[in-house]
Every structure is written in C-alpha cells, then in structure tokens.
Symmetry: C2
Subunit: 357 residues, 2 copies
C-alpha cells in the first residue's frame, strides 16, 4: 500500500518521539511491503517562531491531502505568556476545527508489567481497559460569545457552552458503535442536574439507546465519574462525554494508569475522513533533546493510526505486541523506572522495539 | 453562648446523620455551658413531597435568621425524573443563591487509622492535608442564557459560564487568606489556555498576589490538576477554583482520601454572614433508615460550624479529637470497614463519640 502521512513534530520532545515513530514506520513498511510518504508540517510554538502563527495555512492544506496525521506535541514555557493567537495550543485547537476532528479517542489499558507504576493499588488496576470518547469540536472550546464586557459592577466575562443536537448525536453514536466492538457497555457522562446542554445530551442518549439493544447504557454525573475512576476504574468500558469534561476525565484516567508515557490518542474526522494521532503526554520541555523521552506512547499512537486510518490492523497488532514485549523484558524510560532499575534512552528503546518487530 | 441553628435534615440518610449530630451538639452545649436552638426546615425531595417545592420560602427565611445552617443531604431516585423545578438539587442550588453562599470549603485530610481505605497506595496518602475552595454561586451554574433554541441544523442548546471580576476577586481573596492560615501555598486552578473567564481568573490572581507576599501562588490547568491529585496529592495546600471545576475536583479529591464518609464541607456567605455545613457523602438512599450511615462526616461538619460560624474553636477541637480517637480505637461503619472487621451502626458510633467527648 501507498500512504501519505502528514507529520507534525511540534515542540519539546515532539520531534524526538516522532523521529522514532517514523523509524518504526519504516520498518513496518519494509516488513509488510508498504510505502509511506511523509510530508512535514509546522504547528505550535516552533511555527510561531518561524512563521508568526501557530497554524500556518500550508499545514492545514497538507493534512487535508493526507491519509493520516501524526503529531508530536505542542507547547512550552517560551510561548506561555503570549496573546491567545500566538499560543501553541491555538494551533492545535485550530487544526481540530479545520479538519473537523470531532472525536478524541483515549484508550487506557494497564500493561501487567507496569502495574506498580501507578499511585493506585495494583489490585485496583488489574484488568482496567477503558476507552474515553471525548467530543472535540464543540462545547466551551468554541462557543461564542466568549468575551469581556463592562457591567454594572465593572468587568464581566463570558464563555459559552454550545452544542447542536446533531453534534451530540454524532459523538454519542460513535460511543455506541465503539462499545459494540468491545464489552458492550457505554457510560455517558454529563451534568444533567445543572446544565441544559447535559439534559439534551442525556435525552439524546436515551433516544438512541433502542437502536443499540446490544449496548448497555449508563448515565453518570461528571463529579461522580471523577470519583468512580479513582474508586474502581475496572467498572468502565467506553465513556462518552462532552469536550471539557472529556479533557479533565481523560487526563485523570491517564494518570490513574500510572503510565502516561504509554498512552496513545486518536482524533477522528467527520465521516471517518481523517485521523490525527498523538501521544497523550505532551511536550515535556524540561527533558527535550536529552534522549530521555519515552517514545512508546507515540508507537502506540502509530498503531492506532495503522488500524483506524490506514486500514492495516495486522501491522497495528505487530507494533502493539512489540511494545508489550519490550516492556515485559524490563525496558524502561525514566518516567516508568522504579528506583534502582536501569533507565533506557529514547533511541535505545527505539532500537529495541524495532528489533522486536 | 446562645445560638440559633437552622437544621435541614433533607433526604435519604440525611435525617439519621443530622439526628446524631444534634445529639452530639447537645453534649457540647452541656459540657461547655451553651444553649443551641434548633429550628427545623424542609429542603429537597421531602419538601417537594410535602410542599410542592424543593425550597419552601420559610426555609430560606429561617436560615436567614440563624447563626448557622446544618444540612443533611438532598436527593434520591424518587425525584430523579422530575422537571428541573421539582428536583431536590434545585432546592440546594436555590439556597446557595438565596443565602449568597459564595464559597464552598472542602478540607481533605487523611486520618492515619484509615490510610488503607483508599484505592491509592498508603505512602501516596501519607501527610495529605489539602483544602479545596470552590466558588459556589457563579459560573455555569447560574449563567444565562441557558436554553434550547432552534438553529439552522435543528435543536441547539446553550449554557453560559459567567463571572464578574468582583466575584472572581472575592473567592481568590478567600483562597489567599486561608492559605495564609495554613502552609502558605495557594494553587489557582483554571483553563486559561481555552477559556476567557479563566484568563480573567488568572490575571486577577496575579494582580492580588503582591498583597499576599507570604503566600506562594501557583497556577494549574484543570486537566493537570485532575492528574496531580492522583499523582501526588501531598503537594497541595489550598486549591481555589471556579464552580464546576471545584465540583469535579473536590469529589475526585474526596474519593482519593478513601473515606468520603469522613469529609465535612462548609459553605460561607458573603462578608462571613452565614455558613451552611453538610457532609460530603450525599443522601445514600440505598442505606437510608437502616442504621448503617456513617455520622462522622456530619460530626466533622459540626466541628467546622462551631469553629467558623459560631466562634467556638475549643469546642470544635474537642469534636474533632473525639472523632479521631474513635477511629483510632477501630470503630468503623460499613463504608470504612475492611473485610473481617466489625461494622458499627450509626447510633452505636454516635454513642461512642459522645462518650469520648
Ligand atoms: C492544549 C489544550 C488546549 C488541550 C485541550 O484542552 O484540549 C489539551 O489539554 C488536550 O487535552 O489535548
Ligand atoms: C447536587 C449538585 C447540584 C451539587 C453541585 O453540583 O454543586 C453537588 O454535586 C455538590 O457538589 O454539592
């Protein structure tokens, strides 16, 4: 197969982990007889420095012409104080909107070899295998008005949580579909006791449920969901929720797993047109360029990309198996190593996983 | 001293735990020579059943004439499907607004005797002692418009996150003041990389900081805060945040402690006029009326009330000491007992704590 992949290394450790991911993809290409074309684009802080914008028009164009997008990470203290339009994350938000990436998928799975890395007790983590489906182009992230005003008491400020029923239905349907391919349980998270948007969310879920008789639907309030993830994460299969709740809960769930350096993420476009894949961990500017970054989350993001956007499930399985094997063998980066264990560098882990493949 | 306390038992286990709390207050009154007057009011589901509203006007009036309010809990499956104005939580939200209870204080402290009750590893919990200060009368909870509309694609829905700078400043100041009486560290939680309201929040915190040179101010994004509470809760002293973030994070933090049955909460009125105190655990309708409820969180809420609204710090200390002693002695309700341990009933624990006092 011949595939075009848009590659956006971004900031901090982004270029390092993406570099390793491409080296891995080269091995996959060779082993399975594919050709992967890489088109590089700029985004985030380094795009601000070089192009004066966090999301150059060419980047969007290039992604639009690709079969999938692989992103490293964006952001760093250097750009933290800039005005909104000159912030790295503005590039990421813009790309989500420009490519209509409406669904963010964040699987959280515990690798047995790493059960001790979490602050949760190992017995609580045993068997955890959940998927958070987060709406990504609506809600408080994009609603208007979002502005400062002058009111009777002085300065006032407003953000708007906006959804169309169609947007809510689209993401809920994806949740039902994904639950169907897994253990058949969907937890819809909302704040229906306070928000009108959550009431529409809940009603829509109820309306769709009869179309998915093989899926068991449960509603959970977001505050309770934040508790249940700590109390008993094993109870969950698929969770589906709106943008900001998903932002908070998926990061909480990631930390619970104890191995945020291992978590992949995929964002899907409308009608399954395009997917963007990135590790969950972010740009970690403090360790950038030091051969310390953990490339495994990016490998697992590549596996998601191979399976979901490139239609190569066998290749995806092979990558995931290689990562699991390497972990079983005790290979660890600094973020996962226990005191006294040997710490591996980014490049050494990369070589090890490629060998394994 | 002569004090008037408005007592709102509410639903589920509310009446049981409040009953025990009043029995305890009677002992405090006797020991220290005070007179506490109890005025009973209705709120929540049982007010809906009897008065047709979750918040009868007499309840608000009675609270307004009191020195403090003691609430059990509201809610239950019986009222879950009703229209918004006939929901128990509408009563609670209405009371917060009517009494201008702008600040919710949720301390999370680990009792050494209960370190094993959490799903987090004991060494992670060691020494945790944090306080979440949640803004309680603004944000998405009360902003308008909150409504359904018809748009180009059909149904649309809107909620509004609204704050005045004055509201933001008021709660931040309380955060600084409280940090000052503790370990001098304030973490302000926002989503300044996305929300305009969070940007005003952060700027306001920065503007106030020079007035509190003895307090160290840190900003944290809400998604990161949800992670850090799991990764290392000990790093926090006081956290201050807006209404919905506070709702989510305070419940997450409560579950991390492993003993939600022990956590008190206090909501303060503007200019320190009035305080409402309630246990964090909620109405637990499944165990209501079975002598299974854990009254300890209500006792600790009473201690907060004695200290903060009634100006009786010595009495508050005595109540807290009595609770700690009883826990040290191994007294446990079902929610805290480990397999094989003896489980105590609500009334038996009550008697034990009163004896201890
Ligand atoms: C960088 C930020 C705008 C972004 C978000 O809130 O969506 C990040 O937290 C994420 O989850 O991808
Ligand atoms: C019942 C509900 C409206 C309420 C809230 O969200 O404030 C509750 O979760 C709380 O934290 O007291």
């Amino acid at each position: 197969m011949n595939k075009r992949i848009a590659v956006l290394p971004g900031d901090g450790i982004g270029p390092e982990v993406v570099g390793e991911a491409l080296a891995l993809l080269d091995v996959v290409a060779e082993l399975y007889g594919h050709t992967f074309h890489y088109d590089y684009g700029k985004i985030g802080g380094h795009a601000i420095d070089e192009e004066g914008t966090a999301l150059p028009a060419e980047t969007v164009e290039l992604c639009g012409k690709s079969d999938a997008v692989l992103l490293g990470a964006v952001g760093g203290p250097k750009w933290d104080r800039g005005p909104t339009h000159l912030r790295p994350e503005t590039g990421l938000l813009g790309l989500r909107k420009a490519l209509s990436l409406y669904a963010n998928l964040r699987p959280v799975k515990i690798f047995p070899a790493l059960r001790d890395a979490s602050t949760l007790k190992p017995e609580v983590l045993e068997g955890v295998d959940l998927l958070i489906v987060r709406e990504l182009t609506g809600g408080l992230y994009f609603g208007t008005p979002r502005e400062r005003r002058t009111g009777p008491t002085g300065l006032e400020v407003v953000d708007t949580l906006f959804y169309t029923e169609a947007e809510i239905e689209r993401i809920l349907r994806l949740g039902f579909e994904l639950a169907r391919t897994r253990r058949g349980h969907l937890t819809s998270v909302d704040k229906a006791n306070v928000l009108e948007s959550s009431r529409v969310w809940r009603e829509t879920a109820e309306r769709l449920a009869p179309e998915y008789p093989d899926v068991e639907l449960t509603h959970l309030l977001v505050d309770n969901a934040a508790m249940q993830l700590v109390r008993n994460p094993r109870q969950f299969d698929v969770l589906v929720t709106e943008n900001l709740f998903g932002d908070i809960l998926s990061d909480e769930a990631a930390m619970i797993s104890g191995s945020i350096g291992l978590l992949p993420s995929g964002s899907l476009g409308a009608e399954g047109t395009l997917g963007l894949y990135e590790p969950v961990h972010g740009s970690a500017p403090d360790i950038a360029g030091q051969n310390k970054a953990n490339p495994l989350a990016t490998y697992l993001s590549v596996a998601m990309m191979l399976r979901t956007s490139l239609g190569l499930p066998e290749e995806a399985d092979a990558v995931e198996r290689a990562v699991a094997c390497v972990l079983e063998k005790g290979v660890r980066t600094g973020d996962l190593a226990q005191p006294g264990e040997r710490v591996w560098g980014t490049r050494e882990i990369g070589a090890e996983v490629r060998d394994q493949l």
